[in-house]
């Protein structure tokens, strides 16, 4: 075996490198025991058990990645006012009006509530079929809605101790007045537009379903 001696490429440090470093914040923790000094400084975040021995180069984001900012790109078929069919979740099979894409990438939709009982809601693009039908939503102002408006705010519960476990959960989810007024504010201008188109309200109320001979790949939505 005659091998060629290969010189390894010169080690050029690339501009993007992750160096292991950590700013540690400490918290005072009470320690029991008479001879243990009472309190101890404990790091709030434990040091990782593994870190790479050498600096690790950070992969630069591709052009597509950098442009997306981590948010799903809106499909061309989905524009404000498009009627969408929800494919999963509580309202599967229902038709819904698309309002705008939220900063997280989710879609803001509304029934409207008076028509099919679907309130202002967030929906993931992947669980939606865009139809070619659309409604004029220029009269609707959806600018005040962001991701913070939605989402379960009761999630952070204080840790229960002792007999609190047996106490009843007082989380009764009431629909706030704010939600109701917001829903009306969005729906009323929408309803006037919908009522101008014949059968649009009935269309939004109707559910989508596949029947025996239908093949979704052959359907034009």
């Amino acid at each position: 075996f005659v091998g060629t001696s290969r010189v390894p490429p010169a080690h050029v440090p690339s501009p993007n490198r992750v160096t292991f470093s950590m700013t540690v914040t400490f918290a005072k923790k009470e320690i029991g025991g008479a001879k243990n000094g009472g309190t101890r400084d404990v790091p709030t975040k434990k040091a990782p058990t593994y870190y790479p021995a050498e600096d690790v180069p950070v992969k630069a984001p591709s052009e597509r990645e950098a442009k997306s900012c981590g948010v799903a790109k809106l499909r061309k078929s989905i524009t404000p006012g498009t009627v969408l069919i929800l494919l999963a979740g509580r309202f599967r099979g229902r038709r819904v009006v698309f309002l705008k894409q939220l900063p997280s990438g989710l879609l803001l939709v509304t029934g409207p509530y008076q028509v099919n009982g679907i309130p202002l809601r967030r929906v993931n693009q992947a669980y939606v079929i865009a139809t070619s039908t659309s409604v004029n939503v220029q009269s609707v102002d959806a600018s005040k809605f962001g991701d913070e408006y939605f989402g379960n705010k009761n999630k952070s519960k204080a840790k229960k101790k002792g007999d609190d476990f047996l106490a009843a959960d007082e989380e009764k989810n009431e629909l706030s007045e704010e939600r109701k007024t917001d829903q009306l504010a969005v729906d009323t201008p929408l309803m006037t537009t919908i009522e101008q188109t014949p059968l649009m309200a009935k269309y939004l109320k109707a559910r989508f379903s596949l029947s025996k001979k239908q093949a979704p790949h052959a359907m034009k939505f």
């Binding site: 499909r75 078929s77 494919l87 999963a88 599967r92 099979g93 693009q125 992947a126 669980y127 939606v128 079929i129 865009a130 559910r207 989508f208 379903s209 596949l210 029947s211 001979k213 239908q214 093949a215 979704p216 790949h217 052959a218 939505f221």
Partner: protein, 110 residues
């Protein structure tokens, strides 16, 4: 709420034909599925990536249901006549062969 009797089929029906195989060897990590009304390779393009559910019954209830699911997804076409290869989270059991499965319409690309 949904009235009783209103149809709500949001999936395509499929049949599980067996595992990916040659004459004498089979590879159970991939199953072959025939989707109803799909007869050409060109028609399978719509279904690629879609989630597939194999649903079966069991005696013991889990989370209030006697029905259980094995989820998977459509990976690629198989052959020229509309068959499709699917990979499931857990390999499908042999008793599923010739049984039905559901090809959901999500993740949707239209």
């Amino acid at each position: 709420m949904k009235k009783v009797g209103e149809p709500c089929t949001l999936y395509s029906k499929g049949r599980i034909l067996g595992y990916k195989r040659s004459k004498a060897n089979q590879y159970e990590n991939t199953s072959l599925i025939k989707i109803e009304n799909v007869v050409q390779r060109s028609e399978t393009e719509f279904y690629l990536g879609k989630r597939v559910a194999y649903i079966y019954k069991a005696k013991r209830e889990i989370n209030g249901s006697k029905y259980r699911v094995i989820w998977g997804k459509v990976c690629r076409p198989h052959g020229n006549n509309g068959l499709v290869r699917c990979k499931f989270r857990k390999n499908l059991p042999p008793c599923s062969i010739a049984g039905p499965c559901r090809i959901m319409l999500y993740p949707s690309r239209i």
